[in-house]
Amino acid sequence: MTHPGGIVLRDEAEQPETGGWRTGVKPQVDLSKCVNCLLCWLYCPDSAVLIDGATFTGFDLRYCKGCELCAEACPVGAISMVEEEPGA
């Protein structure tokens, strides 16, 4: 504890990869359908949706817990959940 009040600097923070909590499904995108509305980015509770400016670029599975909110939120059906080995 070197900083007053337990303040944590970003560069000093532990970065636990919460994607390890996924239990069998992960999101998959069909970029040809994506309209870059970024609703998936807004709804993702774990910063697992990657964007470049205002363009959707994919998922960061290190942080995706498989909650499926992005697939639910997508208005054009570009995101689907696919099975994987748990903990993959």
Partner: protein, 380 residues
């Protein structure tokens, strides 16, 4: 030293408002409550008149006022708020958090009895409610001190070794609403004295992103609480430095505790707040009558100057502590600090809910003839 034209007739509340005008904080989150209201009413008028530029934030409760103060102070804005009694009680949860997050907020407190029964007059029970929160607690004697300590408060709060809320407590009505001559410093001198605000990790510094107020598990909570205790300890020497610098600027010298005619005293009263003036007057009268009496006024209750209190009371065979707050079922807070520091220490509680302390009460305490509860109706 003081020229008459430097003096203005101000209440303690107005004096604190002038200090705020001169400090010109960036953010003032506030909710009104008697007897604090004149402080913030005075400052709001200065803002309305263009004499101060701080952002007044009218919130819906003191809990919100203190919460906004924490956010503002940590964001990088000099922040002052004010409250009394139930307002401080409602703030209490966030006062603890402000101290733990090391937010250097200045709080002007018009000390008032806690409900119940509901009452609006002076005692120190509201302040004692947050005694263990980690805030620096200063208690002043009169309107001049209310002004002077408000001017000094940001320097103590914002010192990098401290970074704690600092509150300046003035007794409700007795000080907040009583007009007396007050010497204000020139605006420019106060501006230079308080300097620029700064915290080590402002939340709005986007080049150095931080998480503040993180969850602390058993592996780190204890260390952070001890860091808070260390900051309190550091505040003692920082207070001394600021008091010395203030004395050099203003010609007005204060200490964390004031020994009054204690040098050869065998009997002493320890007291805080406005009643210190009454006690010192009685000391003067009794000295004229040939009695070896003195007074010890505590201005800084947190951090408590334990060693210096013991030193000041050396040679005093009979010490009476006057508390303006009770701890039903236990030792009153000021007495709890002083018991054991002298061979004989007596406890008295006085003035709850604004009950006056008269000179004859003080004489009875010195004479050992006063009951534990001084000034209680139906007792001598």
């Amino acid at each position: 030293m003081l020229e008459l034209e430097q003096l203005q007739v101000l209440t303690g509340g107005e004096a604190a408002a002038h200090a705020m005008r001169q400090i010109d904080p960036d953010v003032v989150p506030i909710y009104p409550i008697t007897p604090q209201t004149p402080i913030i009413q005075g400052f709001a008028k200065f803002v309305a008149d263009g004499r101060a530029s701080g952002e007044l934030v009218d919130v819906e409760s003191e809990h919100s006022a203190m919460s906004a103060a924490v956010g503002a102070a940590l964001a990088g804005a000099r922040t002052i708020t004010a409250t009394s009694s139930q307002g401080l009680a409602l703030m209490a949860e966030i006062v603890y958090i402000a101290a733990a997050m090391r937010a250097p907020i200045v709080m002007a407190v018009g000390n008032r009895a806690l409900s119940g029964p509901i009452n609006i007059h002076a005692d120190h029970s509201d302040s004692m409610l947050v005694r263990d929160s980690g805030v620096v607690q200063l208690f002043v004697e009169n309107a001049q001190e209310a002004y002077d300590f408000m001017v000094m408060a940001p320097r103590i709060a914002e010192h990098p070794d401290v970074l704690l809320p600092v509150f300046v407590g003035q007794d409700g009505f007795t000080i907040t609403h009583s007009a007396e001559p007050v010497a204000l410093l020139p605006d420019a001198e106060v501006k230079t004295f308080v300097g620029e605000y700064g915290v080590p990790f402002p939340l709005l510094d986007l080049n150095r992103v931080t998480s503040q107020g993180p969850f602390a598990m058993p592996d780190s909570y204890f260390e952070l609480r001890v860091a808070l205790a260390d900051a309190q300890a550091a505040a003692a020497s920082v207070l001394d430095e600021v008091l010395a610098e203030f004395a050099a600027m203003s010609g007005r010298s204060y200490e964390a505790l004031e020994s009054y005619r204690l040098e050869d005293a065998t009997h002493a009263i320890v007291v805080m707040g406005s009643s210190a003036g009454t006690v010192k007057d009685v000391v003067d009268e009794l000295r004229e009558e040939g009695q070896a009496v003195g007074a010890l006024q505590i201005r800084c209750f947190r951090p408590f100057p334990t060693e210096r209190t013991a030193e000041a009371l050396r040679g005093v065979t009979d010490v009476a502590v006057l508390d303006r707050a009770d701890s039903p079922g236990g030792r009153p807070p000021l007495y709890a600090e002083i018991a054991g520091l002298a061979p004989s220490v007596r406890s008295h509680v006085y003035g709850l809910g604004g009950r006056d302390l008269h000179p004859e009460h003080v004489r009875a305490v010195f004479a050992g003839e006063a009951p534990h509860y001084v000034g209680l109706r139906g007792s001598s």
